[in-house]
Amino acid sequence: MIDSTVRKALEEVVGPENVSTDPAILDTYAFQWCGELENLKKGREPSRFLDRPEAVVLPSNTEEIQAIVRICNRFKLKFKAHSTGLGPWAAVSGPGVILMDLRRMNRIIKIDEKNMYAIIEPYVTGAQLQAEVMKKGLNCHMPGAGPNVSPLASSTSLGGIGFTSVYTGYSPRNLLAVEWVLPSGEILRLGSLSTNSGWFSGDGPGPSLRGIMRGYMGAMGGLGVFTKCAVKLYPWPSSASWEIEGVSPNYEFCVPKWWRLYIINYPDWENCENALYRIAEAEVGVMVMRESGTPSLAVTFSHSIEEMANLIFSLGTIVKKYIVVLIAANSQREFDYQTKVMEEIIRKTGGEDLVSTGVFKPPSISYAEAIRNMLGQHAFIATSSFQSTFGMADTIRAALSVAGAAEKIKLKYIDKGVIADDGGEASWGSFIEHGHFMHMETPTVYDVTKSESCKGMVDYMNECYERNLEDNLGIPFFVVGDREHERWGPRCSNYHLWLRKIKEAFDPNNISDSGWYISPGSKKSSSTKEV
């Protein structure tokens, strides 16, 4: 708990109504999705509650954030920035940290229609941004975590592959100019912003430090606070006016003309892979994803646990390895072209489109959910608890290797009865930038209410990590914190030593919560000579 001097100092910056040290308020920030897994990794009970912050402060602008950071430096207190917050890394990583909740900074500052970018604050959500940019015939990238997530946080501080990544890329690649409050309290402006040239570029004129600032998975609050950024926008072929009929839970989306959804089923990986390469070459679709197995299809396209179970039982083992492609074209001509391309690919690769053959009719609302990046949230339908393993972005071949490796490990833990039985198959992959590379992860459902299930999930995740290392399957999701970086760094060009140098250079007082990033290290480990 902070003392009265610190509290008074914080209150002078943001007003007493925007500072809280009440445990009831603090616990709402400690409660995080997958907190139980992180607690188990730290040898604690599998509670969803992580550490409480010492205080929560709600700044409303960059100047207030600078003032808070300076107070933290003065009183030797750590701070952690928090925006929409999803996952353990949204919480403080240990005791002695003040959490800055950025929810008051929720403005879309500008949408530059001509140059196709938007300037946003930390608490602007994907849904908020998309609704506004679609009015101008544009679309934005949203991570698969859903439309409730902050594009700024995803771009500056984490990663984020989404359902439309085939044409909207992924969060780190969409980042343009950035306003960054460093752990010292100073402001650093990156890209074109640093030379007063506007927000259009992350790489200049001016310093380009995106690699330093975020690296592969972002610093997750370990390098200061990102207060504004510009993100790329993309052309949107359809109307901003989404016509939804019906009432909950029976919504019907009036699928716009020139839209079509394919679910192309293959009996094996070989033909599925062949089709993926062809789709990538053809550069069609606004969503291209690959899944496998009936449970995976059932959970993606159902809207209740009953619907999901019914689909699993009714489809049986029909569904094998499948590719989902959504086409949304600008014109009849483009639509005709893309559908012809798809039909040719299906024919040549021996696939079966489950939609056109009537085997499975996806609900119309799923089309809208695809574009809204809502399909990922379906993973919570089965037990309210899931987490992904692996999680890499590489070539199509590498991505499929991951999916294959994951199946074997998953089956072992299904047999142990600690994770839900999805036949071992459920994995999700998405094309990034027209299949020039591909993301693959393996969502796995467990039961947060059962200790043995949580413990089994941690063991399963560890085994997946080991397989990543042994089989060179890339760096997975959530390599966060010292322990994981020490584990992976020596196998990956000692990157962790460089990461530590960055932390030491930008945060000499170690004031920005480094628990989800990397801590300043000893002289030995920080020596670049050993790299």
Binding site: D22, A24, T383
Partner: protein, 369 residues
């Protein structure tokens, strides 16, 4: 949800701020609408249980709410008004028939605070020569203020007393012009006591009469209006369907309720009926706000908020008034005496040029006053 779990896990001690958080919710059920979709989660149930726990542990409800059990026990209403004044709204001009099997359950707020609603409802019934009776002196508070603030024990006692009154009076059909009473009789009484009375809100009753041709509108009411869905008539007015079953592991690691549990999505509340009535009044132009039906923004008065946090209640209403203004409406129309009070207070406090009418008031105008 996090706070409820933290309290259950004994991570939290009771503090003023904890109680403020728990009781600053107007229990509007908007959270249920969002979380029931796909996930079958019912946060409102958790909030209500949290309030019950606060009271059981001796920390809740808020000071203002603590006055209510005594008021209701002694005077049968939460306003501490004399029971004899419960029928003062009639002003001797309303006729009722003790032999009718239709009971008009007036409710405390229309009886004491929004008497125009009670009066106009009764005038319409009298004008249309529809026989009804009222239960006075055996009309007591429906129990909503107690139940919604976690004073469940007292609420259930009161509800049981009311059921006795209904049975003694041979009640089969209850008509009410209060959305709060409607929710209680439609949902909470069946859920907690298993009652099966037919319950109708005035809006439903009048629209039935309109469709049967018994209610006709002769006069034009030239007004641009927007309709505010009361939470207790809308998303919380959806009928309660009992369920008995168990959680079964249908797939290894995945359990679900068997038989499937009926989910109250909030979509089956009373939404069309008041709109149909408004649209049938000559001269009325109905314009819609952005957030309507199951997604309506709460007026801010419910769940004991108006009593314990009046400023917050006014703020919520003022936001809704802003939204109403953006439609070009001259008046907000609703069907809830509690919304009525809060909107009228907010209009006064903000100085907005916005009128408020209960639906019955416009019906009377259209009938020729």
């Amino acid at each position: 949800m996090a706070i409820a779990l933290a309290l259950l896990k004994r991570r939290l001690e009771y503090t003023n701020e904890l109680l403020n958080v728990i009781y600053r919710c107007s229990a509007c059920g908007g959270c249920n609408v969002s979380c029931n979709y796909m996930f079958g989660l019912e946060p409102l149930e958790v909030i209500m249980e949290l309030r019950n726990k606060c009271v059981e542990d001796g920390f809740g409800p808020m000071p203002k709410h603590r006055e209510w059990p005594d008021y209701i026990r002694e005077k049968h209403n939460p306003y501490n008004e004399d029971h004899e004044k419960r029928i003062a709204w009639m002003q001797g001009s309303i006729e009722w028939d003790e032999n009718s099997d239709l009971v008009y359950f007036v409710g405390c707020t229309p009886s004491y605070r929004r008497v125009e609603i009670a009066r106009e409802t009764a005038r319409i019934l009298n004008y249309l020569d529809i026989k009804f009776k009222i239960l006075y002196p055996n009309e007591y508070c429906c129990g909503s203020p107690l139940l919604k603030t976690g004073q469940k024990k007292e609420a259930i006692e009161l509800m049981k007393q009311n059921v006795k009154f209904f049975k003694n009076a041979g009640v089969k059909k209850i008509l009410t012009s209060c959305a709060g009473c409607y929710h209680m009789f439609k949902v909470e009484y069946p859920k907690n006591l298993g009652t099966k009375f037919e319950v109708l809100h005035t809006a439903e009753f009048l629209d039935n009469l309109r469709r049967e041709g018994k209610l006709r509108f002769e006069k034009s009411v030239n007004l641009i209006v927007t309709y505010h869905d009361p939470c207790h008539l809308g998303r919380l007015g959806e009928p309660y369907i009992p369920w008995e079953g168990e959680l079964v592991e249908v797939i290894p690691g995945v359990t679900m309720p068997i038989p499937p549990k009926p989910v109250r999505y909030g979509s089956n509340g009373i939404y069309e009926v008041p709109r149909n009535l408004l649209k049938s009044i000559p001269g009325i132009k109905l314009v819609e706000m952005e957030r309507i039906r199951e997604y309506a923004w709460c007026c801010g008065a419910g769940g004991g908020v108006k009593a314990a946090f009046p400023d917050f209640a006014l703020w919520a209403a003022s936001k809704r008034i802003e939204e109403a203004k953006s439609t070009g409406a001259e008046a907000i129309v609703s069907c809830c005496p509690f919304c009525s009070t809060n909107f009228k207070d907010a209009i006064t406090a903000t100085g907005e040029k916005m009128a408020f009418y209960d639906l019955t008031e416009l019906v009377v105008k259209a009938m020729g006053g």
